[in-house]
Symmetry: C2
Amino acid sequence: MVKKIYNIGVEATLEVIGGKWKTVILCHLRTGAKRTGELKRLIPEISQKMLTKQLRELEQSGVIDRKVYNQIPPKVEYSLNNYGESLSLILNKLCLWGEHHVDYLEKEGKDVALLRRESSKMKERD
Amino acid sequence: MVKKIYNIGVEATLEVIGGKWKTVILCHLRTGAKRTGELKRLIPEISQKMLTKQLRELEQSGVIDRKVYNQIPPKVEYSLNNYGESLSLILNKLCLWGEHHVDYLEKEGKDVALLRRESSKMKERD
DNA sequence: CGGAATCCCAGAAGATACTG
DNA sequence: CAGTATCTTCTGGGATTCCG
């Protein structure tokens, strides 16, 4: 394998949390472990295929754990592991900025809506 | 236009800084205004077309300014504007995490290299 | 020098059906 | 319920060329 060269730190970060859905998935996992179906419900637009794929990649990057319960029907839970937790503050800030941005868009007269304000409760802490 | 619905704040954030190169571009602008050619040199793998496209989108999102100097040869400078500055802390943390991640990958025995440690000087501040 | 316009394709991503 | 497999669609983005 050829040497992987990053020109700036953030390029390495994007290799982990880049991609269409990874950051969204991680943000949801920030509030605790989730089953596949829960994630699917929290991210309605994602396809089964994409969800699985992105979860596998996050697992291989070493930021989430996959726990399989041997039972019928199957049950699989995903969660941020220790290393993934090191992203937690960033994820929270990304959520917060987005919430502010939605307010900004509304003031601009854009027709937007935000269903879930996950980070509101943490506003004071930052 | 249909109402844009976000399920979680970070989805709105990704609409601004998502895409293959936007975060990288913003990270470079974090250290000051840059000319098109400078950005091209700082991000060697990006194509002319993508650079222009992503810059236009960032401009339309309202986070960067584009300043055209009327001269021959042309000179155009891009910079974070006030609203874009509100992303600066996040961008810095994304860079920092990536720098740590490169160290992590090295310890894992991966063959990686990081050319530019832009955020090192800010480590103590955070 | 900065960038617009064209052509073109690998690979991203959707839909559907199937399995343990 | 979670995941795989297949097939298809489509678009992100590379390469190239031309313009003010």
